[in-house]
Symmetry: C2
Subunit: 461 residues, 2 copies
Amino acid sequence: MIINFSERAHNHNWDLDPIVRSLLDTDFYKLLMLQFIWRHFRDTRVSFGLRNRTARFRLADMVSREEVVAQFEHVSRLRFRRSELIWLAGNTFYNTRGIFQPDFLEWLERDFRLSGYQLSEQNGQFELLFEGPWVEVTMWEIYALSILNELKTRTTLKAMSEFELDILYSRAKTRLWSKIEKLRGVPGLAFADFGTRRRHSFLWQEYVVEAMHAELGGNFTGTSNTFLAYKHDMEAIGTNAHEIPMAMAAMASSDEDLRASQYRMLQLWQQTYGGSLLVMLPDTYGTSQFLQHAPDWVSDWTGERVDSKDPFLAGDEFIEWLRQRGADPRKKLVIASDGLDVQDILSLHAYFMGEIQPGVSARDFRDASDFADTRKWKPVRRIRFSAGWGTLLTNDFRDCHPRNEDGLEPISLVCKLRSAEGRPAVKLSDNYLKASGPKELVEHYRDVFGLAGLANIPVVV
Amino acid sequence: MIINFSERAHNHNWDLDPIVRSLLDTDFYKLLMLQFIWRHFRDTRVSFGLRNRTARFRLADMVSREEVVAQFEHVSRLRFRRSELIWLAGNTFYNTRGIFQPDFLEWLERDFRLSGYQLSEQNGQFELLFEGPWVEVTMWEIYALSILNELKTRTTLKAMSEFELDILYSRAKTRLWSKIEKLRGVPGLAFADFGTRRRHSFLWQEYVVEAMHAELGGNFTGTSNTFLAYKHDMEAIGTNAHEIPMAMAAMASSDEDLRASQYRMLQLWQQTYGGSLLVMLPDTYGTSQFLQHAPDWVSDWTGERVDSKDPFLAGDEFIEWLRQRGADPRKKLVIASDGLDVQDILSLHAYFMGEIQPGVSARDFRDASDFADTRKWKPVRRIRFSAGWGTLLTNDFRDCHPRNEDGLEPISLVCKLRSAEGRPAVKLSDNYLKASGPKELVEHYRDVFGLAGLANIPVVV
């Protein structure tokens, strides 16, 4: 065997193994939202904050500040490559060419940059604050999350021998394959990778996505990761997130304006994009009030993404609402994206794609373990269903650690809009306990939007 | 990344990926026996035959004759390397230096060669016949078996995608790790790799052996594979096999001489080797008759290897016999080596190393699944126990095939002594159904040795 001397010496010379190697290594909806923000809110200033909700993992004790800074500085120096921009311009997204317009792409090439960041430490946790023009701040979300998650992964891996690492990944691959076997051959199944932000590592996400693509063909509809879509000729998946309605709400000038902002966002979005990209996210201030008060044109949208409500209930509520508005649910789409694993995906698929037998409730589907078996149900679509599979697709290392330690468990890192134009941002969601924002303002928003359809509302005696 | 052009071009140039890369890639007992044969039977001529007892795998349909010939020709051209011979001369085996003597090593270097072979095909199976001086024929056994087994493996692997191969080995590693976890921390446990002849492949055997060595330390006592012992500084394990008593029996001149031959073999062996190498294999013509009629000096031997009798019963029989002969069983050794898996090893270890509670029988141990848990038994040694772990250590791919096909199941290939000095060889073993040799001769041997202690004797009405 002839040694590759140059490669070996180069490996000694490395001072950084970058986590984010391309600005496309982000969720596709971030790019759609970036163009939207650039088009409609070019001068709006915002702040985003990142924190770790899993307090028992003391990230700042596991990862050195220097490593974080080195990775952040690396991303700050990245630029969109010529070939990447040409792909954004020339590729078909959601069956549409030219979604990214020339003036926006020119700005991406010449003027796009990331804002600065403030990194501090408190109680063993990193706190990150990003402030500046929305167009410079928004893209940090995914880069920052995937960097911190992968640095945590690397810390855990450093304590393993070569053989233990081999067993770790063997177990994870075995686990992945058992998921593929459960999903194989289910008629009409549709799911996509939504796991960039909480992935184990970039290379593991790439492995998982290539495996799903190769083994499940068209049932795997694509990936939210733009770089992986680009690199492997897959569909890039995703539309929009809470930061837009939240910022528009924060900037509202009256309670009436606040209530209307959630629909004004939709108006602006459909001015910018059309067709399949019209997937709404109605839970920012509660799905039930959103649907109840929605203008009629909202039922023309393609579908909704369910993020904080029980997806069985949310789907049924959506179907019922569509019927009331005179729309045919079978032509509409419901996407679930909150903490799914393979069994949830199969149960939801059967529930929405199957014929419900008399006496069978959502609960029966939820708890069943055999809905991959199509002999149990008849595929008569009630509504189109698609799953956005996140953490448990790209970071499921349960029972994989060779010494059965917990260092590879995913943590709940979040990077959220904190304020827009100096005014604090609020989210209520469909779960009372998941509201975010300053306490008094949350109460005010609750007065404005009401509590219809929320889970976990405290009982007041 | 800079391409290693020379390596890549060299890979294109390969015409053979050799299976046996060193003449040391054989069971250690073959080398001990080779020296023994060279010392005592230098001019004896024998034949060995190879056949596949698993008829449903039609090996000759799976593997081309050309591939077999290419691998056999490669082995025929191999010579012992200088460094290998120096290791044989200088290394300590079973705590003894100089086991291989200078005149033998000189012959190995200068004059050792393998006999020719006759390869034919019948009913989709290869038949192999090796004829010539015993010193040229005997070494073929392991080379031939590992070549045919690995060629079968390669055939199955050729039908897999890169991703399927990755899943296959991930599953096999996961399976291996679960075995390691069961064996870890069991006090006094001793086992060795005996899996060369039926291994999945050379590289997989090497992986398994390195894993056991790294993870289980001294409880993994070593490997029967001399090349792996040499390469990784492990203990080489093994003493002798049936071919010696079989050849000596075949050459016996009278029934009395035939009965005596099984002990004359022991006499010659202890003239040649001493100490820990005095492990007998008493089952060639039935263990019970062997022990019953053995001369007193036989109880001075270190122990016995059990190969065709239920090892629980065989161990108890050996303990009882040692007591009758006034020897202390706790200083003796019983080795089991027939079709063991992890649970057998743990049960046998507990049975021979543990204190038997009143009312507990061998059967309770055999069927238990929790004898790794030392809370269940008290380690009070009845006899030293060691396991020789073969096929299910180096070729356990059950439930590993990504498409759940059976192409990787181990097959029962055997390569046995057929004749010595033109006289057919016979083995009776402790299992009536496992006798080998010409039918009439088997009957004659049964008359001479009797049927005491044999399993599966047909009931004559």
